[in-house]
């Protein structure tokens, strides 16, 4: 089963913009993961099921359809990497 990393962000959110280059780095480090990005405003229907809270960005790791972990807000590459290593 492919592990999916879903990132939910918005153009108006500075923290989401800060995370962009960091996530590019993560994508390179974890090529086996499926990386999906949703826009908080444009992909409203797609993200409805993920129950996004009051803070952006949100990173959700899915094993199939099952959520295995979630990170919220601005994170360092190392913080995300540490989480993802457990599911590699």
């Amino acid at each position: 089963m492919v592990i999916k990393l879903i990132r939910i962000s918005a153009v108006w959110c500075p923290a989401c913009l800060i995370m962009r280059p960091r996530m590019q780095e993560i994508e390179k480090k974890f090529p086996n993961f499926e990386h999906i990005e949703y826009d908080f405003d444009l992909d409203e229907e797609m993200i409805a099921k993920y129950n996004v809270g009051e803070v952006l960005p949100v990173f959700i790791l899915l094993d199939g359809d099952k959520e295995v972990t979630r990170l919220v807000g601005e994170k360092t590459v190392a913080e995300i990497e540490n989480k993802l290593r457990c599911f590699e």
């Binding site: 108006w12 959110c13 500075p14 923290a15 913009l17 800060i18 009051e54 919220v72 601005e74």
Partner: protein
């Protein structure tokens, strides 16, 4: 303080009659003292001064005199050289002290109390301790007069902290995210700069209006107290917010859906108008309207920082031009994060943000600053005049 200003004015009109007595307490064993003695030998050639030396290591009487002088001048230092001019005591010797001695020479041109003379002759005279005047010699910056830099520094710090409040940043990012996709760079610059200038004008108009009120009412104590309470309240709100959020995730709070939709609709309307040559001026008006409404939100969001800043300006009794320049300096630093984000977007056609962890920090620094200003406004408003 008024006395000091009066005395400074006096020195402009009354010429020096006698050589100025400068008392130098020094030690034979101290190399810094030697440097100061050399300085005085040179300085004597250009200034009408009379140096009286007191060796304090071998001479007990001089040492006791030094203790008495220090006590009279509320000076708790233990080291020499210690220079005394009138009722001004200066510890140590360096470039700053040189400037302070020169400033004292310019200052003591009227009838003044010589504290060493008072103690030596056991005179019963009332006197006011005059702190060292003049400039400070700082690395890189050179000679700096604290009176000259305090208000600009306060303008920069408060403006910068105010600019970090995130209430309006999301609108600028929203606007930029759409205009960076436009092909016409010239129009992109016009739209962005219009947004920033309008933001500055709204803030300027508000601050000038409040300044007028503050100047008119600055003499009324209860008005100052109300502003002080606003500062204390703002400080408490900021610190509470920092305390609550310090361990939470750094990120963007989701903006209300209706608000997002409304702003998005307005921006898309503007973009449509930009594309058409005939309606471009409507787009400009639309951006101006957007900036006005956003900055009104920002004003409400700023915990009263512009209000407090204009009150500080009013206390300082400046000229109209100085008021304007300080407010413009405040606004420049208030907008600096927006300007940086806009410039990067225009240069790279990519959006960038400022880490949200700085928002937390701005709450902490802003909170402490506001509490401090509030306390000073109540107990020591004269300190906010920054006349050191």
């Amino acid at each position: 303080m008024k006395k000091i200003i009066f005395l400074i004015l006096l020195l402009l009109f009354i010429p020096k009659v006698n050589a100025l007595d400068i008392h130098l307490f020094y030690s034979e064993l101290c190399s810094t003292c030697e440097e100061e003695i050399k300085f005085f030998e040179e300085y004597k050639k250009e200034a009408d001064i009379n140096i009286i030396y007191y060796e304090t290591t071998r001479n007990k009487e001089n040492d006791e005199l030094l203790s008495d002088v220090r006590k009279a001048l509320n000076n708790n230092d233990k080291t020499v050289p210690y220079t005394v001019i009138g009722t001004t005591g200066i510890t140590g010797f360096n470039e700053t002290v040189k400037n302070q001695i020169k400033a004292a020479y310019e200052f003591y041109t009227y009838e003044f109390v010589d504290i060493v003379d008072v103690i030596q002759n056991d005179l019963d005279v009332e006197y006011e301790i005059i702190p060292p005047l003049g400039q400070y010699n700082l690395p890189i910056l050179g000679d700096v007069n604290p009176e000259d830099v305090s208000l600009p520094l306060v303008s920069i710090i408060i403006g910068f902290i105010d600019g970090f409040n995130p209430c309006a940043m999301w609108v600028l990012l929203f606007l930029l995210s759409i205009i960076v996709t436009m092909k016409d760079r010239k129009k992109m610059w016009i739209i962005g700069i219009t947004f920033l200038i309008t933001s500055a004008v709204v803030y300027l108009a508000f601050m000038l209006a409040w300044l007028q009120i503050a100047i008119t009412l600055s003499e009324i104590v209860w008005v100052r107290l109300i502003i002080a309470l606003i500062a204390l309240l703002g400080g408490a709100i900021n610190l509470t917010s920092y305390y609550k959020e310090r361990k939470k995730d750094n990120g963007c709070a989701v903006v209300d859906k209706e608000q997002r939709k409304s702003i998005s609709k307005r921006i898309h309307k503007i973009v449509k108008q930009i594309d058409n040559k005939k309606t471009f001026y409507l787009a400009i008006l639309g951006v101006m309207g957007l900036a006005v409404s956003v900055n009104l939100i920002e004003l409400a969001c700023s915990s009263g920082l512009p209000l407090i800043f204009t009150q500080i300006l009013a206390i300082n009794n400046l000229s109209s031009l100085q008021y304007l320049l300080y407010i413009l300096l405040y606004i420049l630093f208030f907008l600096i994060d927006d300007i940086v984000i806009f410039a990067i977007a225009m240069k790279t056609l990519k959006l960038t943000g400022i880490s949200t962890k700085y928002n937390k920090l701005s709450h902490l620094i802003g909170g402490i600053l506001m509490l401090l200003i509030g306390i000073l406004m109540i107990f020591k408003p004269e300190w906010l005049m920054f006349n050191f």
